[in-house]
């Protein structure tokens, strides 16, 4: 496996690895953005409609909770296969980077909704009540109290979401989505190129470490409770 330190290895596989890394990043980032577009409002809705929320609505709260639980109970790989026709309808292909994005989004959104719910639940109920006592509307409480007050926690949650989606992209790679996961399967597993397996694993570990440390640092830096 020491060949990973040789120029030969990199001239043979370097381009593949670069493309794989790029594909993994694209899938992860695009899917994260869209998953938040769905998951963030869902999480906010959960907080508002919960029994002690500022807009309690038992029916909506229960229906949303049920949908989210169903979404979270499907393993990603099964969901990906199960919705292939839907994926084709949306992005025009079942495979490749593009084909991986719809299942990534659908799989991650319920998870993100729960993450957001947990972060927002940390906001002191007294502060929300104070805003209400000053005549804040529901929308103002969401924009000016819940989201800004929970920002450090939301950002930490963001790192967990991204890393989860990153792990999903590796699974997606197994069924033709491209990216580092795809390389690990095709070269590392099927063709027994151990050094490729090693490098893809190192790349994935490095990505996770980088993402986590950036998000942790930002979260700490912006949290004004800590000073």
């Amino acid at each position: 496996m020491l060949e990973i330190f040789t120029a030969g290895f990199w001239s043979q596989y370097g381009a593949l690895l670069a493309a794989g890394t790029r594909d993994t990043l694209i899938m992860t980032l695009v899917a994260t953005v869209f998953a938040y577009v769905l998951g963030l409002p869902l999480g906010v809705a959960l907080i508002l409609t919960q029994p002690h929320g500022i807009r309690p609505c038992a029916l909506l709260y229960r229906v949303l909770g049920w949908i989210i639980n169903v979404g979270r109970s499907l393993p990603f790989i099964i969901l990906m296969v199960a919705i292939m026709d839907f994926t084709k309808l949306i992005v025009g292909t079942k495979i490749g980077v593009l084909g991986a994005i719809p299942p990534l989004v659908i799989s991650a959104a319920p998870f993100i909704a729960r993450m957001v719910e947990t972060s927002l639940a940390e906001v002191d109920a007294g502060v929300v009540e104070a805003a209400q006592s000053m005549g804040a509307s529901t929308l103002q409480i969401v924009w000016k109290v819940y989201l800004p007050e929970a920002k450090p926690s939301l950002i930490l949650g963001g790192s967990i979401s991204i890393i989860t989606i990153l792990a999903y992209t590796a699974i997606a790679g197994a069924i033709g989505a491209g990216g580092l996961g795809d390389l690990a399967i095709r070269y590392g597993y099927q063709r027994r190129v151990d050094s490729m397996m090693l490098v893809t694993v190192i790349f994935l570990i490095a990505l996770v470490q980088i993402i986590q440390s950036i998000f942790s640092r930002v979260s700490t830096r912006i949290d004004k409770r800590l000073k």
Binding site: E129, S133, M134, G135, A136, S137, P148, K227
Partner: protein, 338 residues
């Protein structure tokens, strides 16, 4: 147009229903005057917070009316209610500041809510920070302040919309005595300068005697007594009032043994010590002080003393009639058998 800024009529609040129902407030009637500092005192669970939260409709009354500045709060639409709340703001025991905003931005917050232009809001917020004595803390975050300073910021924030009423729910309960005194002083000052009506909720009699002109005693969800602080202090006529006025003090129940005693109330006139002395000198009767709880309000003496009378019935009668002959003193004979 109305000397009563807050009128509470036949207010009831019940939490839950059926067997588990909690009648937090029953048949509350209160009138709070424009510009006064009104106290609401009661033990824990008496319903104080519920009552004050009914005043700005954070809690919707089960029955009854809450009229603030001539407006029946219970009849307002949601939007009208949000507007009305700018007129009756609130501070809390736990300050409830936005932790991710600077103090100045916290004070700007209620102005942002009602669309005041940012630079105008910032100028007014800076003025208010000066007013509460924190001009130099504008750019600090709440986490960097002490409890007393946080409450000052909360007060500045509550004043941002120029309210007619400031509700204070246990606003000093998390603070030490010195800080409490300075916050009460600030409230008194703001009441005088701005004419804002202040409603003070507390479980501490000392807070009431410090700043309130009138007080209502809440006990088990009902108003046990209301009136001027002086009246309630000198003639607490209900058990609830006596419990609060003389906490751990001259309550007969504390003396287990059979005692022939007299409860003496000082109503703002003579001082205490000379009475005991003159009893001894003029009647030749010695009495035991079994308990005393006395206070000074507006330079006058208030409070009670429980005096154990001599066993000899003649001496006891002599002492009793002597005490009763004193001005501003009320005596109540209490025969207590264990």
């Amino acid at each position: 147009m109305n000397e009563h800024i807050i009128q509470i009529q036949h207010l009831n609040k019940t939490f839950g229903s059926g067997d588990g129902a909690v009648h937090a407030l029953e048949e509350i009637n209160l009138d709070i005057r424009q510009g006064e500092i009104f106290g609401i005192i009661g033990l824990s669970g008496a319903g104080k917070s519920t009552l004050v939260r009914c005043m700005n409709l954070l809690e919707r009354p089960t029955a009854g009316k809450v009229i603030v500045d001539g407006q029946d709060m219970t009849a307002l639409s949601e939007k009208e209610l949000r507007l009305a709340r700018r007129n009756i703001t609130m501070i809390f025991q736990s300050f409830n500041l936005l932790m991710q905003r600077t103090c100045l931005k916290n004070v700007c917050f209620p102005m942002e809510l009602c669309g005041v232009p940012a630079d105008k809001a910032r100028r007014r917020a800076a003025e208010l920070m000066e007013l509460v004595g924190l001009g130099d803390k504008a750019d600090a975050y709440p986490a960097q302040l002490s409890g007393g300073q946080k409450q000052r910021v909360a007060i500045a924030r509550a004043l941002a919309t120029d309210p007619k009423v400031l509700l204070c729910d246990e606003a000093t309960s998390a603070l030490d005595p010195t800080t409490t005194a300075s916050i009460l002083e600030l409230l008194k000052d703001l009441n005088r300068k701005l004419g804002v009506t202040v409603v003070v909720i507390t479980h501490q009699m000392s807070v009431i005697e410090e700043i309130c002109s009138r007080v209502a005693i809440l006990d088990g969800g009902v108003v046990a007594e209301q009136g001027t602080v002086e009246d309630i202090f000198s003639h607490p006529s209900t058990d609830a009032a006596r419990r609060l006025v003389y906490p751990g003090g001259a309550s007969v129940q504390q003396y287990g043994a059979a005692t022939h005693a007299v409860r003496v109330a000082f109503n703002g006139g003579s001082a205490y010590q000379p009475l005991i002395a003159s009893l001894a000198i003029e009647c030749g009767v010695k009495v035991n002080i079994l308990g005393a709880d006395t206070r000074n309000i507006d330079g006058k003496a208030f409070g009670t003393m429980l005096l154990g009378l001599p066993d000899d019935p003649n001496d006891a009668a002599k002492a009793l009639s002597y005490i009763r002959s004193q001005p501003d003193v009320a005596a109540e004979e209490v025969e207590y058998h264990a």
